[in-house]
Symmetry: C2
């Protein structure tokens, strides 16, 4: 086992694609030893720039992602892509859909693409995203692009994994989008107004500027607003330049180390939550099944049941991380 672990780690560090893909699947399936490989890789991570790209369905975010990958490839960079798909809580499968636009890069050995599906497990998604970033970092990617849909709690958690977050908005999605904008103001390091050739694009840029001006505190980094037409590749170089500028700002001001600390605390906490939760889930599906019935029938309240579950699991034996 020891040998397999160090051999796999070495293969990933040499940038071998098949070993990397195999490790990623093993991490997904929580195969024994996969975590040990990750631990062996950990000291060799921290080199890649991690870029988050998020936006609502229909924002052209995937086309933009493919364009960015093309830009970085032209600059000779090795690129990793993690595409996070919302998916069924039951089937656990990733959805293809708009992944197709990324296919032009699928045959390029300098691009490693991986789709992640949520598996209906609490916190499972954000944990695995972080793990896969480490693997891509260790296998020599210069840039790792994480692409997510929307700006819910999931996306916020995932974005904690990124150094720089770009939020894509499009003109004319109606007033409900305004409400969301207020939420994304604080996760965005760069705004992208995509489909900048359609009516209302100037208005969207102006709206974003207004929202920024209305902030009660001027943030140390004011997110630039970049206009793009991803379908034609327009504005992609400017976007890449702004992402670089934010990266340089992070390093110069020391803000990077604050983000690293925040991310470290988040990862440690997620690992413990996840381990405790899995121990309880296993117990509830087996010896604790009668307790679930009692709560379902309202003979026991959930807090009393959680107390019993905690006693029977985590406090009985330290859960496996």
């Amino acid at each position: 086992m020891e040998n397999v672990i160090s051999a796999t780690a070495a293969a990933v560090l040499r940038g071998e694609v098949r070993a990397t893909a195999r490790l990623m699947r093993a991490l997904d399936d929580r195969l024994p030893g996969s975590t040990d490989v990750l631990r062996a890789l950990y000291p060799h991570t921290g080199r890649a720039r991690v870029i988050g790209l998020t936006g609502n369905p229909g924002s052209g975010k995937s086309t933009l992602a493919a364009r960015l990958v093309g830009h970085w490839r032209a600059a000779g960079l090795k690129v990793g892509v993690l595409a996070v798909d919302p998916s069924s809580p039951y089937s656990g499968g990733a959805i293809l859909g708009d992944r197709i636009r990324m296919m032009e890069h699928a045959a390029d050995p300098g691009v490693f693409i991986r789709s992640l599906a949520t598996r209906g497990a609490l916190g499972g998604l954000s944990r695995s995203t972080g793990d896969l970033v480490h693997v891509l970092d260790a296998m020599g990617c210069d840039v790792v692009l994480i692409e997510t849909v929307g700006v819910g709690q999931d996306e916020i958690d995932i974005m904690r994994t990124a150094d720089t977050v770009a939020v894509v908005v499009v003109p004319g999605l109606g007033d409900e989008v305004q409400a969301i904008k207020a939420g994304i103001l604080e996760i965005a390091d760069v705004f992208v107004v995509n489909k900048a050739d359609v009516d209302g694009a100037d208005r969207t840029v102006a709206d974003l500027r207004t929202l920024q001006m209305l902030q009660s505190v001027t943030p140390p980094w004011q997110p630039p607003i970049v206009s793009t037409v991803a379908a034609r590749g327009e504005g992609v170089a400017s976007l890449a330049a702004e992402l670089d500028r934010h990266g340089a700002w992070l390093r110069k001001t020391g803000a990077a180390s604050g983000r690293l600390r925040e991310r470290a605390a988040f990862v440690i906490s997620s690992l413990v939550r996840d381990a405790c939760g899995r121990a309880v889930d296993r117990w509830l599906a087996g010896p604790g099944a009668a307790l679930v019935d009692e709560v379902a029938q309202r003979h026991t309240d959930p807090f009393a049941a959680a107390h019993l579950a905690l006693q029977a699991t985590v406090l009985q034996r330290a859960p496996v991380l």
Copy 2:
């Protein structure tokens, strides 16, 4: 303390709005005793029908929610509404935005409306949603409507709280929506094609039918597809009737008890995860701060750190639920 708890519980059970609002705020702020009130209410819950309504921004979901509330009010039902807003991980505030459409019901004593913001806490949102459903149920609501944006992991978790889930889609949002549809197929009990008066509505209905036909297994309940024009109130009565029909099906087939079991297990597990996570978070912010630094600087790997955090917190003293 004992007296305050039973007095608050009694006031909520009498349907007093101010006591209910106060309890909800206390639960949000995790004030001491608030959980005890919830426990006292628990045996009196299980009467309300819980309806989930989800859909992307721009789907007109909030207008539809307001119309449904109007429909139920006209039938003499007491209605609770929980509107889950995506929001900042920093400010913790709820966003108003499209809540405004619900305002016509704000002055109606038979409608209790509450906006929930995510607070950037892992699992915090889904837990509090479930708690607030119990409170609204206990205070005498006949129907509790939970409204969320999107269909990410959060929404899936929240929807586990509902008996019946309606998913709103609109015509012509482009092909990225198709990808999401595949994910929502399995959480939807009823499909709503809103804005059914615009071009492409027939096509959207046909697409949904096709997706349903392509399922490898015919589900025991085939979700009906209801066309609505929420802005004009069209189709709202049909939607309400389909929601009722699903409720009747749940009760008749015993599927309801399966959902109750699943929900109970989810709540127990979430409570334990949350308690363990909070204990770790507190520790990392204090005595464990040096460990966070070590991980941030890659001198310690996150798994070793999580092991230490687990030893120093949860295993040292049972976390408070």
